[in-house]
């Protein structure tokens, strides 16, 4: 049984009288790929925003690596080993792919030298090449990020997230807006990372989720209604009902 890497206790978020997330207890195990699914408005994005530190919970606690991160802002959470990738791709458009990744790597450094050229940073570039090789973007290394295809930009965003050598990746709809082959690229990458990095993803695309994850948590109206392996969830009647008769 793996260690718990991320845990929430009674996580709740209200917006006025609307309870978007209600008393959610999550337990994510090290090395797993967990999917957070549910119909529109189920509260998935709100959970993501709270886990990443962009939104404070109304009540409840979040624990990461046995440290409470409930009210921490995002940059503190990311410095503790959690990396984020957003639904709307968030990269540095006018920088090259290499510069994007190098910038991400440098974020971990305490001190940046104003006298050296960043293009002379051999150690940094070695690490950049490692990462680009890993995610399959080597051939685009010198291209400007905004000129990449949508799918490659998503992959670049993952490279940025991986640059900090995180223990856990939190992804919000990583396949959003991607074509079938682009989605394939992302899925392959995630499968490769499986076991090495704990991954939690919010996703709409049921096919993608089913084949990729170790286990699923299903959210509806802000509450967990079911948890388990994909095969179990597939046949869960309550889940089927919630997705309005979609057959799996």
């Amino acid at each position: 049984m793996s260690e718990t890497i991320l845990r929430t206790d009674g996580l709740t978020r209200r917006f006025g009288s609307l309870v978007a997330v209600n008393d959610v207890d999550l337990e994510i195990y090290e090395g797993e790929i967990r999917g957070l699914i549910g119909p529109n408005g189920a509260g998935k994005t709100t959970v993501f925003n709270m886990l990443s530190g962009m939104l404070d919970p109304s009540s409840g606690e979040i624990w990461f690596h046995d440290e409470e991160i409930t009210d921490m802002p995002p940059h503190q959470i990311t410095s503790r080993g959690m990396a984020l990738a957003f639904q709307i791709t968030s990269i540095f458009p006018e920088l090259t792919v290499t510069e994007n990744v190098l910038g991400a790597i440098n974020g971990q450094k305490r001190f940046l030298n104003p006298l050296e050229r960043y293009s002379d940073d051999e150690a940094g570039h070695e690490r950049v090449m490692e990462l680009l090789e890993r995610v399959g973007l080597m051939e685009h290394a010198e291209e400007t990020a905004e000129n990449l295809s949508h799918g490659d930009q998503k992959v670049l965003e993952m490279a940025l997230a991986l640059a900090s050598d995180p223990d856990m990746l939190l992804l919000d709809e990583p396949a959003a807006g991607l074509s079938a082959s682009e989605t394939r690229t992302v899925v392959n990458l995630l499968e490769e990372l499986h076991g090495e990095v704990t991954i939690m993803l919010i996703e709409h695309d049921m096919d993608l989720v089913m084949e990729l994850v170790d286990s699923l948590t299903v959210l509806h109206h802000g509450e967990i209604i079911s948890e388990g392996k994909p095969s179990e969830i597939k046949t869960d009647e309550q889940v089927q009902e919630v997705y309005f008769g979609r057959e799996y």
Binding site: H75, S119, S149
Partner: protein
């Protein structure tokens, strides 16, 4: 994608090629022209530095500072007081100008940066408007819009003798040297890891923050360095003309920095120099322009932002790419289309994306 040209002395990239060309022109120029043009050349170089300082904060860091005229003016006046009231020499006065402006830039930066991103611009506008108000009304100190002339001491260079700013040749080369050193310093900064952070902040501040950077500190660094060099440019202008006035603080002077950078091409440093050359050159040689100068500047600004936001450098890149693709210049993309007469029918590029 463009390739670089290999020469025996090293790689010639488009960027350092442009720098080298400009440096060559700048050095040869003074030997080919008369005193008036020497004077103009020195002025334009100083204004180019002013523009480049703005490029640092706007082109590289993405912060639109409309208050740069304030730093320009402060630099000029700080050096003036150092000379007139404290009897300092040319180099010391310039250092004073640099440092005083840097300190003020840090102070003002602390206010401006903490307001929201749109608020930042507004605060910088307020800075220059208030500075202008103060400078224009405190006539006894600043000389108001009529200004005051400054007697600049001679500079003693070891083994070479004493030189006066009234000597057009010396003045030109002095300005060229200072501008050159300043540009090199700024270039160093933008090519350093810190410069990379500047551009990250410009492109996606939120993401930069998430990657662990203290964005406020980096903005402050950019703003202070940028302001300090605007101050140096102010000092140089004063040396060239022998004159300071409150009109250094006018809003349109802030606008000049913007226009040099936009017209020349932002995020290049050298674009601002080009822009200054073009704009100031044009306004001096096209007659009748001085009367309607603001009108022309306004029209150029509108034209540039709507049609050509990357300025002359951007246009030149497009021209260069066009020439390279047609084989006129070395470098350039592999021909892709099978109907291209230059293409090898067996070597069509295979793209791995859809």
């Amino acid at each position: 994608m463009t390739r670089n040209i290999e020469t025996p002395l090293g790689t010639l990239t488009p960027t350092n090629g442009a720098w080298i060309a400009l440096a060559a022109i700048a050095v040869i120029y003074p030997f080919t022209v008369d005193n008036f043009l020497l004077f103009l050349g020195a002025s334009v170089l100083a204004l180019g530095l002013y523009g480049a300082s703005f490029d640092l904060i706007y082109g590289y860091t993405g912060l639109l500072s409309f208050g740069h005229a304030a730093f320009y003016g402060v630099g000029a006046y700080a050096a003036t007081f150092a000379i007139q009231d404290y009897g300092q020499g040319v180099l010391t006065a310039m250092l004073v100008g640099f440092l005083v402006t840097a300190v003020i830039a840090i102070g003002l930066g602390l206010i401006a940066i903490r307001v929201s991103s749109h608020g930042f611009v507004i605060v910088t506008i307020l800075i220059v408007l208030i500075a202008n108000l103060a400078a224009v009304s405190l006539t006894s100190i600043t000389g108001g819009t009529d200004g005051m002339s400054v007697i600049i001491p001679e500079l003693a260079l070891p083994m070479l003798g004493e030189f006066s700013m009234l000597n057009p040749m010396f003045r030109y080369f002095f300005v060229l040297a200072v501008v050159g050193v300043s540009l090199m310093a700024m270039n160093r900064l933008v090519n350093s890891p810190i410069g990379l952070v500047f551009r990250m902040i410009r492109d996606n501040e939120q993401r930069a923050r998430m990657l662990g950077y203290n964005v406020t500190v980096y903005k402050l660094i950019a703003f202070s360095v940028s302001g300090a060099f605007a101050g140096v440019a102010g000092v140089l202008s004063m040396y060239v003309t022998g004159f300071v006035s409150a009109s250094h603080f006018a809003l349109i002077v802030s606008g000049d920095a913007v226009i040099y950078t936009l017209v020349g091409g932002r995020a290049t440093l050298i674009g601002a120099i080009l822009g200054a050359v073009l704009i100031e050159g044009a306004s001096n040689f096209v007659s009748g322009i001085t009367d309607v100068y603001p009108l022309i500047i306004g029209a150029i600004l509108l034209f540039t932002v709507i049609f050509e936001p990357e300025g002359v450098v951007g246009m030149s890149h497009r021209v260069r790419d066009w020439l390279q693709d047609r084989g006129v210049l070395p470098g350039g993309d592999e021909p892709e289309s099978p109907t291209d007469p230059d293409a090898d029918p067996g070597a069509t590029e295979v793209t791995t994306d859809e």
